[in-house]
């Protein structure tokens, strides 16, 4: 269903009074729930719920060859698919731009933050490396799939165990999973600010997101920004962008806390 314009007008009016429909503050996430191992066949997986929004993320690995410009590093391949089951507005067919963008933004959040030690995914320099696939599927879209994808990717990677490398066949042995992935202890956070009317808010629900004029996704680790994507066409003043950065410096700690709590709780 498409959100009627009148709802948008009321959402914006509320924001002008400092309020959101569900009573949250502008910098407040809905409850984040992360569950591990939603799929046994994956090397690692996670289900992330942010309010009613839900994504599942799975990690698969196989043996590949390195790229010419990174002969001693493994490969990261991130993809996202917004499944038609996740709302009544998605059409069947090949992935639309929204899916592609979620995959690419999540890829950059992971890659640029230095979360993954790609050298630790090298088996034989110049010949054999691990391919690390991060695949994201939306199950229910109630807004903010972008940040849900980022959180899910981090959790799934944290929980993943690498398949054994079989020296004889030169292939991955999926019957034995042991080692954790070579990851940094600090996790990256994907945090998206949406401009609705005259205000920036985070974690919009579906209705709020429908009236988002532009969004800024900040990928960061320990408060250091490692990736940005401004999406949609509305312009932003340099001053307003500065304010977003100031708010991000506070909010990332809150989000990190709730993610780490969930990851710790479910640690094997």
């Amino acid at each position: 269903m498409i959100t009627p314009k009148i709802n948008g007008d009321v959402i914006k009016k509320y924001l002008n009074e400092g309020k959101r429909f569900d009573g949250r503050g502008f910098d407040e996430f809905r409850e984040i729930i992360i569950e591990p191992n939603v799929s046994k066949k994956a090397e690692g997986s996670a289900r992330v719920k942010i309010g009613k929004t839900e994504v599942i993320v799975g990690i698969k690995m196989d043996i590949g060859t390195p790229y010419p410009d990174s002969m001693d590093k493994g490969n990261l391949i991130t993809s996202a698919e917004i499944l038609p089951m996740s709302s009544d507005r998605i059409e069947l067919g090949k992935p639309g731009f929204e899916s592609i963008e979620i995959g690419r933004i999540t890829d950059r959040v992971l890659r640029e933050s230095g979360f993954i030690d790609f050298k630790g995914l090298c088996i034989k320099e110049g010949e054999k490396v691990w391919n690390l696939y991060v695949d994201i599927y939306s199950i229910n879209d109630d807004g903010n799939l972008l940040d849900a994808a980022g959180i899910g990717a981090v959790a799934a990677l944290k929980w993943a165990r690498m398949p054994k490398y079989d020296e004889e066949t030169g292939k991955a042995d999926y019957h034995e999973h042991r080692d954790e992935l070579p990851l940094d202890e600090n996790v990256p956070i994907s945090l998206t600010f949406h401009k609705v009317g005259d205000h920036f808010i985070i974690d919009p629900n579906r209705e709020e997101e429908d009236f988002s004029e532009t969004r800024i996704t900040l990928g960061s680790k320990k408060g250091i920004i490692s990736s940005i994507q401004k999406g949609e066409s509305h312009q932003v003043s340099v001053e307003d962008f500065g304010k977003v950065l100031d708010r991000m410096e506070v909010v990332w700690k809150e989000v990190l806390k709730s993610i780490e709590k969930q990851i710790e709780k479910n640690k094997k």
Binding site: I224, I225, S233, H234
Partner: protein, 245 residues
Amino acid sequence: MTTKKSETKSSGKFERPDGRKVNELRPIWAKVGVVPNADGSAIYASGDTIAIAAVYGPKQMHPQHSQNPEKGTLRCTYLMNSFSVNERIKPGPNRRSMEISKITEWALEPVLMLKDFPSQVIDVHINIIQADAGTRCAGINAASMALAHAGVPMKSLVTSVSAGKLDKTLVIDLDKEEEDFEEGEGPTDIPLSFTGDGKITHMQLDGKISPAQLKEAVEMARESAKEIHKIQVKALKDSVEGDKK
């Protein structure tokens, strides 16, 4: 102001591979009217990066079900030539080029009065014929000039430039060698686009940077965009004067 500060900070310590100052752009060359069939066109070269843009429209959108009766559609296609880089690119669109096409639309849309063109489409085709980093910025600059050259009503031109950080030093307009810089904190690339009055219409970032330094980098980019803006305007004026002769 901000630009000066980082210049002194780095002086003596850091040198760019091609000897440019931290806030110095690569040599720019720009010209409009390079694709005779198009309604508007431009070529924009920044160092060894060269982009051509051609505009067709506003024209009726086909198929009819793609028409938007509320406002016109801006449709950008960014394409890198297969031979524009060392390792040949498989021809045709890929996920990267699709994203940059969309980013280009978002960067340009705020200055266009698309509401005046319901059910119409403006096609912008961008071709990178030689790539040495900063191709999306060059593409946006060329596209913006091509739109103006086509006579599409615009509030201002859009000017794009990338700010960056090499190890700890802020610089402007990274080339490929700098993009592959591996010392210290490595490279950070921040492509940005601005309207004529300095509002941000596009921003991306890859790398590592503190919020405080990022603010400084954005200011630096805004200053450099003013220089590029002048070159864009001059190229457009030159074409009009050429017509008079």
